[in-house]
Every structure is written in structure tokens, then in C-alpha cells.
């Protein structure tokens, strides 16, 4: 949990407006937990004051290399996509509590469900779980083939089922339409994606041990400003996505 000043190694557009940004430098060695995020400063001077939360998509902690995959949509991410080799990126991290890998043992089964720009953190998680000896399956949902990314890389880790809203690749439909074959195996479920996806997922994961990563607009990103709260079954009645999450057991938080 530090402010890092990392060097851009590469910036590649890997799908329609989706970028893979690789940065390097001191501090990445602490990014060991998939599902944690970094809080990225965008723009010059004081025109953009709020940082952008971006998940760790992959981290090579031995070589201090961090990969982020993000969609350039608004002002901040559009700026980020113009950074190139030689530029510096100011980010805070690692922040939050990621996916707890201890809940599935070596030899166990895990299903990782991701939608759209919720897919990136599942790559690091899948890699780590596979390393540990967990049999990993992925159910990935995208709008269209032009928005899809990393599918080949996921296939190197485990079985992959893809759904697209327009059917241009994989099955036409939602991620919930392609995951039954995996849930039949009673895996632990780890998911990240937009709230509607998580809501739909809730029916499919009934009786399963499931962990979701949530999104909310953030101020501080470190637990101080109460911007990112979410109603929860905790004594205080709420959790903060940034510091208590972003990953919660599905029962803990009301979606």
C-alpha cells in the first residue's frame, strides 16, 4: 500500500478500446493477491483529481512487472491509453482485499466468472489457482467479438466457455448461459463483473461457495471518505468496497 511511480513498458490495444498496459518498477513485488486493485492517477496537473481503480490483471512479482487491462471510456482512461513507453504512471497499491485462494484446496475445483471489463482480475487469479493445483474453469461474457480479449491466454490455464450478447463468438447470450456444465462440478465460484451479471449469477450459485468482486465509484480508495459504501450484513450495516472489499463472500453484501 504505497504510491508507486512505474515505468510504462508497453501499451497495446487488445480489443475495441480495450488496452493492456504493462508497467514496471519498485513496489510491484507486493502485488501478490489477485482481486486487489491499483488506484491510478490520470491527467496532468489538477484537472483530474479522482484516481481510477483498475484491477491487477497480472503481476510478475519477481520482475516487478504489472499488467492492467482496461477500457478507455471516460476522460481518465482515455488519457491513460495515450501513455507509452518512457512515460511514468502514478498509482497507489496494492489496495483492498482480493480473492482468498485458501477457500479452495489443491486438487479442488474453481469456476471463475467474468463479464466485460470484470474479466482482467480473473487472469491473475486463474494463474495462481492453477499453480496451486486447482482445476480452473472460466465462464467469460462479452458484448461482441470485438470486445473480447485474452481468450487464448485463459485457455492456457483451464477450460473456457465464452458467451457474447450478439453471438459473434461463443454462445449467444450471457455468461450465465454457458456455466452450467461447470457448476455441476460444485466448484468454488469467483466472479467479477457488472452488478446485473452478479445479480443473475446469484441464482446459478445457489448452494455454492461464491465470492464476488464489486465496483463502486471511489473518492479516496483507501477507506477514508465513505464514497464506496454498500449495504451489508455486517454489524455496522455497510462495507466499503475499497478497503473492506472489493471482494466479498456473496452473502455478505446486498447487490
Amino acid at each position: 500500500m504505497k504510491r508507486l511511480n512505474l515505468n510504462v513498458v508497453s501499451q497495446v490495444m487488445i480489443a475495441d478500446n480495450i488496452f493492456e498496459l504493462t508497467v514496471e518498477g519498485e513496489g510491484v513485488e507486493s502485488m501478490k493477491v489477485p482481486g486487489q486493485f491499483v488506484h491510478v492517477r490520470t491527467g496532468e496537473g489538477f484537472s483530474s483529481l479522482l484516481r481510477r481503480p483498475i484491477s491487477i490483471c497480472d503481476a510478475d512479482t519477481a520482475n516487478n512487472r504489472l499488467k492492467m487491462v482496461y477500457r478507455a471510456q471516460g476522460k481518465g482512461t482515455a488519457w491513460l491509453s495515450t501513455r507509452s513507453r518512457g512515460d511514468k504512471i502514478d498509482l497507489l497499491g496494492p489496495l483492498g482485499n482480493g480473492f482468498n485462494q485458501d477457500v479452495v484446496e489443491a486438487g479442488g475445483k474453481a469456476l471463475l466468472v467474468g463479464g466485460g471489463i470484470g474479466v482482467p482480475p480473473l487472469y491473475y487469479l486463474g494463474r495462481k489457482l492453477a499453480q496451486k493445483g486447482v482445476a480452473v474453469s472460466f465462464a467469460l461474457g462479452f458484448q461482441s467479438s470485438k470486445d473480447a480479449f485474452y481468450i487464448e491466454k485463459f485457455k492456457e490455464i483451464g477450460r473456457v466457455a465464452v458467451a457474447t450478447a450478439d453471438g459473434t463468438i461463443g454462445k449467444k447470450g450471457f455468461v450465465t448461459d454457458v456455466m452450467d456444465k461447470f457448476t455441476a462440478e460444485q466448484p468454488v465460484v469467483f466472479a467479477c463483473g457488472p452488478s446485473p451479471m452478479l445479480r443473475a449469477l446469484n441464482h446459478k450459485t445457489e448452494g455454492l461457495n461464491a465470492y464476488y468482486s464489486f465496483e463502486e465509484r471511489m473518492g479516496c480508495g483507501v477507506g477514508a471518505c465513505f464514497a464506496c459504501v454498500c449495504e451489508a450484513a455486517t454489524p455496522s450495516g455497510y462495507v466499503k468496497i475499497c478497503s473492506d472489499g472489493p471482494v466479498f463472500k456473496k452473502e455478505e453484501v446486498s447487490i
Partner: protein
């Protein structure tokens, strides 16, 4: 020699910098980033008598050189703040500014009475200017009579100095400042946020669930400087200045305008080290201005005999 210490009623600060209320929680979170004993003081998040959950999300939005927030005074209530939050601040030995809010006068009085008794609380800061809850005190913040009445009542029950935090959403800030001074306020805090809104083009709805929110950040600094300049000449109680401070230069600008100490809010989000970095940088700016002690510059833009040519 310490060139940075300032002294305000109830606040002996080794430097003029404190995080602003609501932008630093109760300190715990930023304590993971740096040693809070570096700070001149700390202002904690608004406390209400009973716990509040606050507004629905989204609660923040970005604007050009600023941000909107509509947190809605979320806090665990005075009791829990005392039992669970304040103790964490003890090790740092810095003055604590307890920001209090409420709906009715009685709420303020109850919170004030309880919090002011706490050993760790140095002063109270009456938040009569929260724009984000219908009954968040803003009704007191724009009417001089109501503000004065509330100040008087809180002063009666408080065993610590009382600062009143003024809203910038008024036509005449001098009038507000004078009303609360006459009512017995020991100091002023200013400014709270301006009321703003952003509308999302896709949904065609306000970005914030609460629709409007409080505008903070460098965008509002010129309004803050102007209001501090006006209020500081209209009253003789000291002012904790705030609104868009990002750099050591901004701190000096606020103090030249008339602030005796300066709070840093939104800057913490852009940079968690904002406060200690600004503190460390103050000496450089004082050197460049040939100022031997920071307190010399308070009100320097309007006080006679403080122009640079006469100062040495």
C-alpha cells in the same frame, strides 16, 4: 527553530496544516500511509448523535479541477466514534477537531456536549453547511440568525472552543461571519463545498444518486480565498481556511487572505501524502518569500505594514 507553528483557540499546532473533515475519515486509514504526528492537527468526519448511513451511491463524481460528493454525513454516531475511533488518534499527540452535524438544535447540543468532554477533542467544528442532506444543518448555514442561535446554544454546553464552519452558498459571507462571532464562536472554518451537479449524457440523469453534491477542489479555491479575505476583515476571531488547497503555495495564499491555519481536503484523494508533502514544502516557500515565521503572513494581503518592502 520552528517557523511553522501557529496558535488558535484550543489549537496549538506545530504547523498550520490539518486534513479537512470528511476527507480523512477518523485518521486510521491514512495512518497506514504515514505518521500522523507530522500533522498540525486533524479534523475528523462529521459526527451526529445517532449513527447515519448516508446517501445512496454513486456518492462522488469528477468535475474539471474538482469533484462532487454527496456522502450524506455517514458516521457511526458519537458513541461509537468515542469508543472505537478516537482512541486510535491518541498515540499521535496532535490536536483533534471534532466536526459535528445534526438536524435539530438539540442534536448539535447533545453531540457537542458529549464530544467536547472527551480528552482527545481539542475543539468543536460546527458543520452548519453540509449541502448533502436535507436536514444536514444547511438551514443554519444560510441564515445568520439561525446560525447565531445555534452557535450560542452549542457554546453553552461545550467545554471546548467552538469553530463554526461556514457555507459558501450565501450572498454575504461577512454577515454570516459576524453573526456567529457575536454569538460567541471562537473561530471560523471556511469554506465548505459549493452546491453543484453533473448530468450523465447516457442516462440523462444526475450522476450522483443524491442529484446535487458538494463541489470541492482547486476549482473553488478562488471563491475560498475571496471569502476568507472578506470574512477575516469583518471579524477578529481566527479562521481555518480551506477549499482547493493542493500545494504549499496554496496554503500561503489562504493565509495571506486571512487564514490562521489551513485544512486540506480533496487533495488527499489525489495524493495520500498531500498533507505531509505540503508541510515539508512550506519552508521552501517561506524562504523564497523571505518570511522568518509563517504567522507573519496571516492576513498579509490586507493588513497594513505587512507588504514585503516594509517587512524587514
Amino acid at each position: 527553530m520552528n517557523r511553522l507553528n501557529v496558535s488558535l483557540p484550543g489549537l496549538e499546532m506545530k504547523n498550520p496544516i490539518m486534513p479537512a473533515s470528511g476527507c480523512f475519515g477518523f485518521g486510521k486509514d491514512y495512518a497506514k500511509w504515514y505518521d500522523l504526528s507530522l500533522l498540525g492537527a486533524v479534523a475528523i468526519k462529521a459526527a451526529t448523535v445517532s449513527p447515519r448511513f448516508g446517501n445512496p451511491t454513486p456518492r462522488v463524481a469528477e468535475t474539471e479541477s474538482g469533484m462532487l460528493n454527496a456522502i450524506g454525513l455517514q458516521n457511526p454516531g458519537v458513541e461509537k466514534i468515542i469508543s472505537e475511533e478516537l482512541p486510535h488518534l491518541k498515540p499521535y499527540g496532535i490536536p483533534v477537531v471534532a466536526n459535528i452535524a445534526g438536524t435539530a438544535e438539540e442534536d448539535y447540543m447533545e453531540a457537542a456536549e458529549i464530544l467536547s468532554k472527551h480528552e482527545l477533542v481539542s475543539v468543536l467544528e460546527l458543520n452548519i453547511s453540509c449541502p448533502n442532506v436535507k436536514e444536514g444543518g444547511i438551514q443554519f448555514g444560510t441564515a445568520p440568525e439561525a446560525a447565531a442561535r445555534l452557535t450560542k446554544m452549542v457554546k453553552k454546553v461545550s467545554s471546548k472552543p467552538v469553530y463554526v464552519k461556514l457555507s459558501p452558498n450565501v450572498s454575504d459571507i461577512r454577515e454570516m461571519a459576524q453573526a456567529v462571532e457575536e454569538a460567541g464562536a471562537d473561530g471560523l472554518s471556511m469554506i465548505n463545498t459549493l452546491i453543484g451537479m453533473r448530468i450523465d449524457l447516457k442516462s440523462r440523469q444526475p450522476v450522483l444518486a443524491n442529484k446535487t453534491g458538494g463541489l470541492s477542489g482547486p476549482a473553488i479555491k478562488p471563491v475560498a480565498v475571496r471569502m476568507i479575505y472578506e470574512a477575516s476583515q469583518a471579524v477578529s476571531i481566527p479562521i481555518i481556511g480551506m477549499g482547493g488547497v493542493m500545494t504549499a503555495e496554496d496554503v500561503i495564499e489562504m493565509m495571506l487572505a486571512g487564514a490562521s491555519a489551513v485544512a486540506v481536503g480533496t487533495a488527499n484523494f489525489a495524493n495520500p501524502y498531500a498533507c505531509p508533502e505540503i508541510i515539508a514544502d512550506l519552508e521552501r516557500v517561506l524562504d523564497s518569500m523571505d518570511v522568518s515565521h509563517i504567522s507573519e503572513i496571516i492576513g498579509g494581503s490586507w493588513k497594513p505594514c505587512k507588504t514585503p518592502s516594509l517587512s524587514r
